[in-house]
């Protein structure tokens, strides 16, 4: 489904991704771990098409199509979804209006008719329940005054609504209490499907008890330095990143 080859990307002249290689097949769940500042969010943003980052080398294809040629919104309509590490607020724009606009943009792309307000309301209420968000949140401004955990649940709700092909979840588990972690994990597990891939960035192997990944990768200094199965996460928890020859971002960078 997604194929990343020798991907290099920089921001403001500074190279952050230094040759990423990754293959993700439909139905798989991949977890990416790694020290702070190693480039996990950068990879997520680059895949989603954030123009603040410049791709300097390499290629990315989604089902054989060159992803890097597409605009952000086109990638979204092709099925790339990014759950943000830090969801931004849009004051005055109701969550409901925002989501309906998004859903209808996707539907239009697929040649389907627009959903009317009533139909959409029904659907939105269903998914909000799935992530244990009070439907009252639909009326509030997008992320406006949401707590950290509410923002994360709101992101997963959007994934459930938009039914992407590839869901990239950037630290969707951070800042969640124990119950919320369970709720969010259930949401993500509900997303798991034969024809869908999930790429999730996390610092905690705890999440992987709830959402069991097929593969675990360690990203350090802008490269994937180690890949393995579920057990790699456990090993990382026990031994930290040191044994892989990296301590932190600086160490990683100087190692290059």
């Amino acid at each position: 489904m997604l194929s990343i080859k020798n991907l290099h990307a920089s921001v403001e002249g500074k190279e952050i991704l230094k040759g990423i290689n990754l293959e993700i097949k439909a139905g798989e769940v991949h977890a990416i771990m790694g020290p702070n500042g190693s480039g996990k969010s950068t990879l997520s943003q680059v895949l989603a098409g954030n123009e603040a980052f410049e791709v300097t080398e390499g290629e990315v294809t989604l089902n054989g199509e060159n992803l890097l040629e597409l605009e952000t919104e086109e990638r979204a309509r092709e099925g790339i979804f990014l759950a943000f590490q830090y969801p931004v607020e849009i004051p005055g724009v109701s969550n409901l209006q925002f989501l309906r606009t998004a859903v209808n943009a996707m539907r239009q792309h697929k040649g389907e008719g627009e959903m009317n307000a009533a139909e959409f309301m029904k659907l939105a209420k269903e998914v909000s329940k799935q992530v244990d968000l009070d439907p009252a949140f639909l009326k509030r401004g997008v992320n406006e005054g949401f707590s950290g955990g509410e923002k994360k649940r709101n992101e997963i709700m959007q994934a459930l609504l938009l039914q992407p092909k590839l869901a990239i979840l950037d630290e969707t588990d951070s800042g969640l209490d124990i119950d919320a972690l369970q709720v969010v994990s259930n949401g993500v597990n509900a997303l798991r499907a034969e024809d869908r891939a999930i790429l999730m960035v996390t610092h905690y192997q705890r999440l992987l008890n709830h959402i069991v990944p097929d593969y675990v990768h360690v990203l350090a200094g802008g490269k994937i330095v180690k890949s393995g199965g579920r057990e790699l996460a456990l090993e990382l928890e026990e031994r930290g990143y040191g044994w892989l020859g990296i301590k932190d971002e600086e160490a990683a960078n100087s190692a290059n």
Binding site: E73, A76, G92, L99, T101, A102
Partner: protein, 482 residues
């Protein structure tokens, strides 16, 4: 960052949609202004002597006045002798007696503007008085209004048919020598709207007027007078458009509102005069004096405006809160882009006890435009327990535009309370990225974000026009993003 600016720059290059010229024969005065022109104008309108005298008094006052230069705008000097002061579509008969008699070309114009009069009448609920260049073309819904006792007609008709009312109130809120543009308007106003709501009557429908400047080199000087007697209520909406022309055109209107005891007037404006092209050529100079007097106790006047057009806007819808417990409100969205300049705001003058006022101003600047809020809140010595709340928010799109806030407070009463809040924000790259990541077109995203920013004001507009206003913002911002 760069990407957003680029997107936004494309976005605001959107062309003016209402920029067509209507081919109709019209009677137009030669350019120029003197007492003779005023006398001719008054004669065409068959005005009584007192009206002509008042016009001439205003004209003589105007000759002694200087054009104001304190606003945060710059524009080439207007040559008042190069303007024609009267232009009327030629009619076969004297005046159209019903819609059927209105020039079909003219009706087509309104249709292009999205206000088919026929339909409006059928749809019911909105009575439209349409002022084209200088004269009122058709007023719909006269009958049901007459049943309720509401007078809704052109000011020219009112001068003929209700001279006592006009004479009693005209110039009481905005005197003939109030300011340069008001004096000019008083001398040469050609038409406008008159509304009278009798005691205890709740006007059964939204009243509305559409203004349009069509002929070249003409100025539009309409005059609106609305009187709400004790315990009455009226909601009035005006919409404005003008064709694209390379020369600037002058629009200097005066609006006077009078609210007596327990009366309420809600006045909404959707202003979309031609703003000039993307290089700042052409466009309307919109120099308007709007003021309401809450004369009676417990009376209330609300101004809601959505200002997206005009090359230069100079406009401060104000309230004089004379009656005890009277209430003034000002809700404003002003959007400028390209080279547009707006200096707009309000004056709330508190004279009576326990008077209160609310000001919510939302300024949106894009392109190289300049958008200023200027507001005065004034408390007279008798304004015991008066209070004001002001909230001024600016939203910047791109980084070549300017937003300015000039709040003035004058208080002669120690018990008066003022609260003032102001914010400035930008449509951020992160917001744009979030929207686009969810599959939303960039231009739709900007429009959605801007609409969200304006929500508090839009909710004050009459329902059917709130939608219109939202669309208007979308149009003014569309065409973007590549």
């Amino acid at each position: 960052m760069a990407t957003t600016d680029k997107e936004v720059n494309e976005l605001i290059k959107r062309e003016y949609e209402h920029g067509f010229v209507t081919e109709i024969e019209s009677d137009t005065f030669e350019p120029g202004l003197n007492e003779d022109v005023i006398a001719r104008l008054s004669a065409i309108k068959k005005e009584p002597q007192w009206m002509l005298d008042w016009r001439l008094k205003a004209y003589r006052r105007w000759l002694e006045m200087d054009e104001p230069d304190w606003a945060h705008v710059g524009y080439p000097k207007v040559d008042y002798n190069s303007i024609s002061y009267y232009s009327a579509p030629k009619r076969k008969e004297d005046m159209p007696q019903s819609l059927d008699e209105v020039d079909p070309e003219l009706l087509k114009t309104y249709e292009k503007l999205g206000i088919p009069l026929h339909e409006r009448e059928k749809l019911a609920g909105v009575a439209v008085d349409a002022v084209f260049d200088s004269v009122s073309v058709a007023t719909t819904f006269k009958e049901p209004l007459a049943k309720a006792g509401v007078i809704f007609c052109s000011i020219s008709e009112a001068i003929q048919d209700y001279p006592e009312l006009v004479q009693k109130y005209l110039g009481t809120v905005v005197p003939h020598g109030d300011n340069f543009f008001a004096a000019l308007n008083s001398a040469v106003f050609s038409d406008g709207t008159f509304v009278y709501v009798p005691k205890g009557v709740r006007c059964p429908m939204e009243l509305s007027t559409y203004f349009r400047i069509n002929a070249a080199n003409t100025g539009q000087f309409e005059r609106t007078l609305i009187i709400a007697e004790d315990s009455s209520y009226v909601s009035y909406l005006e919409g404005c458009t003008a064709p694209m022309r390379d020369e600037n055109q002058l629009h200097a209107a005066v609006v006077e509102l009078v609210a007596l005891d327990d009366a309420q007037i809600k006045y909404s404006t959707v202003q979309n005069w031609y703003p000039g092209d993307e290089n700042g050529k052409g466009g309307i100079f919109n120099f308007v004096t709007k003021r309401g007097a809450c004369i009676g106790k417990n009376s209330k006047i609300s101004w809601t405006q959505v200002e997206t057009g005009s090359a230069v806007t100079w406009k401060y819808p104000s309230c004089v809160l004379r009656g005890d417990n009277s209430v003034g409100e000002f809700y404003s969205v002003a959007l400028t882009n390209n080279f547009q300049q707006a200096d707009t705001g309000t004056k709330m003058v508190h004279l009576g006890k326990n008077t209160s006022s609310t000001i919510i101003s939302k300024g949106i600047s894009a392109g190289k435009s300049s958008n200023a809020y200027r507001g005065l809140v004034k408390f007279g010595p008798g304004a015991e327990g008066a209070r004001n709340f002001t909230q001024c928010d600016s939203l910047l799109i791109g980084d070549r535009c300017g937003a300015h806030t000039f709040p003035y407070i004058e208080s002669k009463n120690k018990s008066a309370i003022v609260e003032h809040e102001a914010t400035t924000s930008k449509v951020s790259d992160e917001q744009m990225f979030l929207c686009r990541q969810r599959g939303i077109e960039p231009e739709q995203a900007v429009s959605m974000i801007v609409n969200g920013f304006c929500k508090e004001v839009f909710k004050e507009l009459p329902m059917e026009f709130a939608v219109e206003a939202g669309k208007l913002l979308e149009v003014s911002l569309e065409g973007s993003v590549g």
